[in-house]
Structure formats: structure tokens, C-alpha cells
């Protein structure tokens, strides 16, 4: 690492100086005509920015984001800022953001972010509050902050249209409640309640969430699988892949096989969706749910 570093010292130093020089240029007041340079700490905010057509110049944990979230796609030129829990402040400064997108999860270092650029921190996930309306409101708020309110309006209308379309496709499945779960191991799952992004989207799509029990901040985990017996009518929708070991365990489990949802073939599985995302994640979830229940996945 060190030897390769020594050889690249020259050019990278120039890179840094140019970047640092540009940083000082940027600290003069921003002209309104310039496109905003967004840096996203929070993934839901990242998705919101993408939804209004303003791709951030930098965002956190892109390696994992690209692997887990799949869509929306983040182009390779977006700078990876490192872990969300510990973003690289020096790199963040080098990317000269004009607005940093954060959320209340990261309040503990918001002061430091503020020293680099203005911070917009919007809450998406609060206990006992459905996140989808907040995610949709974030479209408008963010669009106003980047000086492009029309983009927010367009995105909001598109979202509503897409959700309406998905709701229409799903209408014929509204006869049964839907249990949204994520399988942990062969004995436990976590259930997405009304204050999760998926639960809240389900509501918007006109379907009933079978999980009416308590939720612990968006979902309840881990719940023993036998709880599913208390919602025999429900369609069981598994969000994301089932761990390899759990697959093996479930296929052998007497209880799992005896669950009415399993015995009567009412189990559906969705690909990976970001459970803590913004509007794009909600739309991806809605689309995948409609495809899967229609048997087109």
C-alpha cells in the first residue's frame, strides 16, 4: 500500500490541490444557476434526490447500496463517502457539496456536517408513524431546497400515478390481508408493521397488513414463525432472499409446512428491496408486489 502510494504521490497531490482550490472557490456564495452539488449520508435521502432527478455527487456506503438495493442505479462517478456511521469528512469536504442530505439517525455528527455545508435532515422513519407520506413530502422539500420545485412536483405526480397503477393491478388481491415478513432463520422472522416503508406502502396500495401487533420502530424482530398461525387468512409475502440455512430448516419444519399460508400455496417471495429507502424503494416494492401476486415475477 505504502510503496504504491509513493509512486502516485505526485499526480494525486495535484488532484488534491485542484480539489482543495475548488473548495475555496465554492466557499464563495453559490450562484442560483449552478446545479446543486448534493452529498447524501442517508440512503432514503439519496433515493429521494435520485427521484427528483438530482443525482448526488457523493453518497455513503455505495458498495453495499449497489449490492443490496439494486435500483435506482447509482452511476460509477458518484464518490463513495464510506460508512454511514462514520463518513469520511475529509473526502466529503473535497467533493465540495452545496447541500448535505442527512436524517435524524445521524444527528450525533450533524454539527460537523454543518461546518462543511448546509445540512438538510428529514425524518423518514419514526416509531408509530407511516413513512411513505414522509418520503413523498421529502420529494417536495428537497426539490425546494435545491431550487427546483417543479422537479419535486413532477416526481410527486409520477409517484402517485405509479402507486395508483400498482393499486389498480393489486385490487383483485385485496380479498386477503398480506403478511410482510423477512425470514431470519428457520425459527424466526421479522414482520413489517404499518410504520415500516413496506407496510405504509401496502396501505397506500389499498391492501390490508395482516400484522396488526406491536411494532418496534418499523418492524418487530425477531418473531417466532408460529405467530403466522394467528393470521391464517393472510398471503405471506417474503421480502428479500431466504438465508440458505433457513431454507433447509423450513423445508423440514413440520410447523412451517402446516401453516395454512404454506399448505395452501399462498407464499410469495420478492427480490431485495431497501427497507429503509425513500420513494424509489416504495415504488420498487409496489411494482414487485404487483408482479409477484400476478404471477409474473
Amino acid at each position: 500500500m505504502v510503496s504504491s502510494g509513493a509512486s502516485s504521490l505526485g499526480p494525486s497531490r495535484r488532484t488534491l490541490l485542484t480539489a482543495a482550490g475548488a473548495f475555496f472557490a465554492a466557499s464563495t456564495p453559490l450562484r442560483a444557476a449552478e446545479p446543486p452539488r448534493l452529498a447524501a449520508i442517508d440512503w432514503a435521502m439519496l433515493e429521494t434526490a435520485v427521484a427528483i432527478g438530482h443525482m448526488p455527487v457523493a453518497a455513503c456506503e455505495l458498495i453495499r447500496y449497489r449490492a443490496d438495493v439494486v435500483s435506482p442505479r447509482i452511476p460509477p462517478e458518484v464518490v463513495d463517502l464510506g460508512l454511514r456511521g462514520a463518513p469520511n469528512f475529509e473526502l466529503l469536504q473535497l467533493t465540495r457539496p452545496s447541500l448535505i442530505l442527512s436524517s435524524p439517525y445521524y444527528t450525533r455528527y450533524e454539527d460537523r456536517l454543518r461546518r462543511l455545508a448546509p445540512v438538510l435532515s428529514l425524518p423518514f422513519f419514526l416509531p408509530e408513524e407511516p413513512p411513505l407520506p414522509k418520503a413523498m413530502a421529502a420529494l417536495t422539500t428537497l426539490a425546494e431546497h435545491v431550487g427546483d420545485p417543479s422537479a419535486g412536483k413532477v416526481a410527486l405526480e409520477q409517484t402517485d400515478r405509479a402507486l395508483d397503477a400498482a393499486a389498480a393491478r393489486l385490487a383483485r388481491h385485496s380479498d386477503r390481508p398480506v403478511a410482510l415478513v423477512d425470514i431470519g432463520d428457520a425459527r424466526h422472522l421479522r414482520a413489517f408493521g404499518f410504520d415500516s416503508l413496506f407496510g405504509s406502502t401496502l396501505d397506500r396500495l389499498g391492501l390490508t397488513n395482516a400484522w396488526t401487533g406491536k411494532t418496534a420502530f418499523s418492524f418487530m424482530a425477531p418473531v417466532p414463525i408460529e405467530r403466522l398461525a394467528k393470521m391464517p387468512e393472510a398471503r405471506l409475502v417474503i421480502v428479500g432472499p431466504i438465508p440458505l440455512q433457513a431454507q433447509r430448516g423450513l423445508s423440514r419444519s413440520v410447523l412451517w409446512q402446516a401453516l395454512p399460508q404454506v399448505a395452501e400455496g399462498r407464499v410469495h417471495q420478492l427480490p431485495k428491496v431497501n427497507a429503509f429507502g425513500g420513494v424509489p424503494a416504495a415504488l420498487r416494492f409496489a411494482g414487485l408486489l404487483a408482479d409477484t401476486l400476478d404471477g409474473r415475477a
Binding site: S8, S12, R64, L83, A86, D111, F217, P222, L244
Partner: protein, 653 residues
């Protein structure tokens, strides 16, 4: 065992009652169980609740047996799979397998858990063997190995960047069942383990006469010890693999058995499994009762974990055989420098040079760069605080470690086992869960308050009894055990806040302000001055309480003052580095090895070396995975652990 005649039946009745309370809502299935003709309720009963009730008994018995064997063979009343790091070793192995080679798990979790548990046990025993298996030292070594294993597991989970639900569940130790396969596996393990323990009972009884006597009677001492430990680990690892982490049942069962009057190895091995089975059944029954009344699902393992801390405290006064001073000087005679001042000056100068250098160089996208004055002005407000904070926390931890090692005459004493870090973590967790969007200041205050509370507890405990200093460490371990149990319970509830706690647990300097960093530095300096002022105590205390008492040292006062100083330093540093770093253990040893023997020199050298180590760790943490900043405490652990293990397992002299 008169008490057993009343207590055991009562406990059994309570366990039955609690289970029936949960079972009354479900219809009884016919016998034999045939899922074809059963209603869902009957299946939940016959393949859910019934195996759960049985497996609680089996797992409790297995853990009780494992704990009893370990306690007998190590002659250590606080040995159990949890305190010796066996469970954490199994956990680390399972985490690694889940993430890097999920196919390995196809053959079941058991071989992997077993490998990890054996490796951890082997390490702890090797460290212990150099120190005559002294009970407290074994537990401290177990704790350190366990902490390291958990730290590595945390690092790997963090690097994975996502919440691994199955691992969290495993950590919680849930007894939920949905068929009889677990019961079959564990009953086989228990039967084989019980038979093996029966075969070992006689050799173990001979061994209890003392290793020399036993060898004289023609017993292969090493073989018996090895067989007993492998048996205990195998039994505990089976429970780990089947159900997850169920802490402290192996500690509680033999302890309760002994308190009920069981004397001798035979009765202990016989009754401990029974008591363990009842303990775990009652715990699980309570969990079921809470769940049935509409409460939240709470893993049983987390509940038994809560018992561990208080239990250790209860056991402390019964602990005989503290380590005599002198047997713990594993370092041998260290070289003594004639002119330590010069060395200290060189180390100090090197530290300043390194700090200045690290201010100037760093990675940027595409390579490395040296800052010019212009960029320096832009970067200084970000780099300076974390450099100062890292160095100051390193120094503070090193000072705390040096004081503790001298106070307790135990080379394994380290700030991590003082319990202050555990309390601090609890404070952080409490704020995270109590406030929706906590600010940095609130988190810092919460962390400080938690650490202070743990320190107060520790002080109250040490002030109450006139006990050997190293039992202070055990009290600290009890507090730490309690803290980690509460933390894993909160983790098991599992949401984004758990993630924040997990991130913090591994330490980060990135959020510290310059004011915070400078106040930490000021504190480190104050502790250093305090240490210098008490250097007479520090030079006499390692000779043992009787010598120090004879030399006119007020033992109680000396302990109180030193623990307050060490605790304050640890608590403050924890805010920056997270609860684990090992710098507090490493720096004093390094300092001694370079020849700084006199207390004042030793303290100063430790502080400088600690600061340097932490600077290096901070630099490495920021640069190794650029732009991903690795947690500082974790990075320091990963650097320090191999060296420490080498040091601890080396033959003295």
C-alpha cells in the same frame, strides 16, 4: 443436601406451572404425533411448545454439566462456558462461516461452533497454564479472549454493512422450536456427555487431590484435564450450535448446587445438570408467560445473561485461592534502564514528530497526498481534533492500565475489565433508545453517566469488603457481563438503533470536537500527574497487601484513589474509542519491556506509548479501507490482540 428436598421440587413445580400457563391456550395432540391428522393448534403444541419445554430442560442440563466439569477440572468456581470465552469463540466461528462460507453450515452448525469454542478454550487455557490456572486470571483471560472474539465478529458484521438477522437471533439465544430435531440432537449430546462425565468422575476426584499426588497415583494428569475440557466444550458448543448464546446457566447451576450443600465431585456432576435444567426451564417459562400476556418477544438467552452479573458478585466472597503475589510476574525480571529520562524524551519526541507527520499526509481518491499550507488550513480543523483525541485516549487508557496492573499485581488487568466501559456502553444505548434523534452532546453525557454509575458500583463494592485487590477485577467483570447481556438483549429487539450502538461499540474518533479532544487531553495529563503523586503506592502495592500494609500504606485509601483515577480515565477514553482497544493492556507491558520499571517512569512511558499506539491505530483505521473509516477501537484491537496473545502464552523468564 436437606435444602434440595424442598427447593428442587418447588423449582420443578414452578417450571411446570409456567409451561402449563403457556400451554393452556393450545389443544393437546394425540400420541404418537402425526402431523397429517393434526389441527394447526395441535401442531403448535406438539411441534412447538412441547419440544420447547423439553429442550429447555436438555439445554439447561447440558450447560450445567459443562459448567460443573469446567469448575471441577480447573478448580475454579467462576469457570463456565461464558466466562472462559468458549461461547464467544463459537459465536465468532459461526459469524465467519455465515458470512464467508455459508456452505460450511450445510453440515450443520455444530462442527463450526465446536471448532470456534475449542480454539477459544485452548487459548484461554494456554494463557492460564502459564499462571497455574489461577481462577481470577483464567476468567480475565476468558473475558479478554471473549471480548476480542466479539469485536472481530462485530467488525465482520459491520463490514458486511447490514444487519444479519440470523446472527442477532443467535446472539439472543432463543428456545423457540418447531420440530423435535433439536430435542433429538441435544438428548444424544447429553446422554453421551453424561456417560463421559461419569467415566471421568473418578479420575477427576483423584486429580482434585492435586496434580502431583494424582500423578503419583499413576494418573495421566494432562490427559484427564484435556479430556474433561474437550468434553465440556463439546457439550457447550452443541447447545450454542442448536440454540445460540445462552449465557451463565453453566455458571449458575454448579454454584446453586454447591450452595444447596452438594459436596464432592460426584454429587456436583450429578446435581448440576438437574439444577441447570430447572434454571433454564424457569427462565424460559417466564419468557413464555411475558410473551403470552401480550408482551414483546424476548430471547431466553438474554434473560439468563442478566443473571450473570449479579451471580458473579454473589460468588465473589466465596472465591478462595486468589493469586499469590509473585506468581503473576509473567514478565520475568525486566531490564532496568539506568537513565530512563533519555528514553522518555526520545519517545516523547517521536510521538510529536509522528503526530505532525500524520497531520500532513493522508489518502485522497487515487493515491496519497501531502498537504500544502492552503489545504492544511482547510483540513486542520478535521484532523487535529481526532489526532489529539486518539492520542489522549490512548494515554488515558495506558495510565489506567498501568495503575490497575500495579494495584492488582495482575498483568492481565486492563481497563476493559473494570466494567466502566460496559457501563458507558449501557449509557450510550439508553440514550439511543430513549431519545428519537440524540445529539452528540446527549450521547456523550449518557455515556459518561453510565461509566460513572458503573464506577460508583465498583467502588461501593470494593469499599464494602476488605477483599484482595484482584477481586476488584472480578467485580468489574460482573458489571461488564451485565452490560453486555443488556446490550445483546437490546440488539435482539433489533432495529436501526441497534445498528447505531453496534457502530459506536467499535469506536470512532471522527465525531469528536476540538474542545472535546482538548479536555480529554487535559484529563489525561491530570491523571498522569495524579499517578506521579501516588507513585509510592504504585511501587509498593505490587508486593501484595501484607507487605504494603506493613510498609504503612493505607490500603483502602490507596485502592479507592487509584480505582477512581483509573475509572475516570477509562470512562473518558471510552467516549472516544468505544469500550475496547487493548491499548490499556499493551502499553504498560511495552513500557516495562523497554526498561521503564520505576513507577513514575513506567507511568510516563505507558502514557506516551499508549498515545503512540492509538495514533498509529487511528491512522491505520482511516487509511486501510479508504474511504471507509474503520472503527478505531476495533482497529487497535486487531493490531494488539495477536501480540498480546503471544505475550500472554509465552513462558515467563
Amino acid at each position: 443436601m436437606t435444602a434440595t428436598r424442598t427447593i428442587l421440587p418447588l423449582a420443578a413445580a414452578a417450571a411446570c406451572l409456567l409451561w402449563l400457563l403457556a400451554a393452556r391456550q393450545l389443544p393437546l395432540p394425540g400420541w404418537p404425533l402425526d402431523p397429517e391428522g393434526m389441527s394447526l393448534g395441535q401442531i403448535r403444541m406438539g411441534f412447538g411448545l412441547m419440544p420447547r419445554g423439553v429442550i429447555a430442560l436438555l439445554a439447561g442440563a447440558a450447560l450445567g454439566l459443562s459448567g460443573a466439569i469446567l469448575q471441577v477440572v480447573l478448580r475454579n468456581p467462576v469457570a463456565d462456558p461464558t466466562t472462559l470465552g468458549i461461547s464467544s469463540g463459537a459465536q465468532l466461528a459461526l459469524v465467519m462461516a455465515t458470512i464467508f462460507a455459508p456452505d460450511l453450515l450445510a453440515g450443520g452448525r455444530w462442527p463450526i461452533a465446536m471448532t470456534g469454542g475449542l480454539a477459544a478454550a485452548g487459548l484461554v487455557l494456554t494463557i492460564g497454564a502459564r499462571r497455574a490456572f489461577a481462577p481470577v486470571t483464567m476468567v480475565i483471560a476468558g473475558m479478554l479472549v471473549g471480548l476480542t472474539a466479539s469485536a472481530v465478529a462485530t467488525a465482520v458484521t459491520l463490514a458486511q454493512g447490514q444487519y444479519l438477522l440470523s446472527l442477532v437471533i443467535w446472539n439472543g439465544g432463543s428456545l423457540v422450536q418447531q420440530d423435535w430435531s433439536g430435542v433429538r440432537n441435544l438428548s444424544a449430546v447429553l446422554a453421551l456427555g453424561g456417560a463421559a462425565a461419569g467415566a471421568l468422575a473418578r479420575p477427576l476426584r483423584v486429580l482434585s487431590l492435586g496434580a502431583e499426588g494424582a500423578a503419583g497415583l499413576g494418573l495421566n494428569v494432562a490427559l484427564v484435564r484435556l479430556a474433561a475440557v474437550v468434553l465440556a466444550v463439546a457439550v457447550a458448543a452443541s447447545v450454542s450450535a442448536e440454540l445460540g448464546l445462552i449465557a451463565f446457566v453453566g455458571l449458575a447451576a454448579p454454584a446453586l448446587t454447591r450452595s444447596m450443600g452438594a459436596r464432592g465431585i460426584g454429587p456436583l456432576l450429578l446435581w448440576s445438570p438437574l439444577v441447570g435444567a430447572l434454571v433454564l426451564s424457569i427462565c424460559d417459562g417466564l419468557v413464555l408467560a411475558v410473551e403470552g400476556s401480550g408482551g414483546e418477544m424476548f430471547p431466553t438467552g438474554a434473560l439468563t445473561g442478566l443473571v450473570g452479573g449479579p451471580l458473579l458478585i454473589w460468588l465473589l466472597p466465596r472465591l478462595r485461592g486468589s493469586t499469590p503475589p509473585g506468581t503473576e510476574t509473567a514478565e520475568g525480571t525486566a531490564p532496568r534502564l539506568s537513565c530512563p529520562g533519555r528514553l522518555l524524551a526520545v519517545v516523547g519526541l517521536g510521538l510529536i514528530t509522528a503526530a505532525a507527520l500524520l497531520l500532513w499526509i493522508g489518502r485522497v481518491p487515487g493515491g496519497w497526498a501531502v498537504l500544502d499550507p492552503g489545504s492544511m488550513a482547510a483540513f486542520l480543523p478535521m484532523r487535529l481534533p481526532r489526532l489529539v483525541a486518539a492520542a489522549a485516549s490512548g494515554a488515558a487508557l495506558a495510565l489506567a492500565g498501568a495503575m490497575l496492573q500495579r494495584l492488582t499485581a495482575n498483568p492481565l488487568a486492563s481497563p476493559e475489565v473494570l466494567g466502566v466501559s460496559g457501563g458507558a456502553s449501557l449509557g450510550f444505548a439508553a440514550v439511543t433508545f430513549a431519545v428519537a434523534a440524540p445529539s452528540g452532546l446527549m450521547l456523550t453525557s449518557g455515556t459518561m453517566a453510565g461509566g460513572a454509575l458503573a464506577l460508583a458500583l465498583l467502588l461501593a463494592f470494593t469499599a464494602r469488603r476488605d477483599m484482595p485487590a484482584e477481586r476488584v477485577l472480578l467485580a468489574g467483570i460482573a458489571v461488564s457481563a451485565f452490560a453486555s447481556a443488556v446490550l445483546s438483549a437490546t440488539m435482539a429487539v433489533g432495529d436501526a438503533r441497534s445498528w447505531a450502538i453496534l457502530t459506536w461499540l467499535s469506536g470512532a474518533t471522527s465525531t469528536v470536537s476540538l474542545a472535546g479532544a482538548l479536555s480529554l487531553a487535559a484529563l489525561a495529563v491530570a491523571i498522569w500527574l495524579g499517578g506521579l503523586a501516588t507513585s509510592r503506592w504504585l511501587s509498593v502495592l505490587p508486593l501484595g497487601p501484607s507487605v504494603s500494609g506493613g510498609l504503612g500504606v493505607n490500603l483502602r485509601l490507596a485502592r479507592l484513589v487509584l480505582i477512581i483515577m483509573a475509572g475516570t480515565a477509562t470512562g473518558a477514553a471510552t467516549v472516544i474509542t468505544g469500550p475496547l482497544s487493548f491499548v490499556g493492556l499493551m502499553a504498560p507491558h511495552l513500557s516495562r519491556r523497554v526498561g521503564l520499571v520505576r513507577p513514575a517512569d513506567h507511568l510516563t512511558g505507558s502514557a506516551l506509548i499508549g498515545a503512540g499506539l492509538m495514533l498509529v491505530a487511528d491512522f491505520g483505521a482511516r487509511m486501510a479501507g479508504f474511504p471507509y473509516e474503520l472503527p478505531l477501537g476495533l482497529f487497535a484491537t486487531l493490531i494488539g490482540a495477536p501480540w498480546l496473545i503471544w505475550l500472554m502464552t509465552r513462558r515467563p523468564g
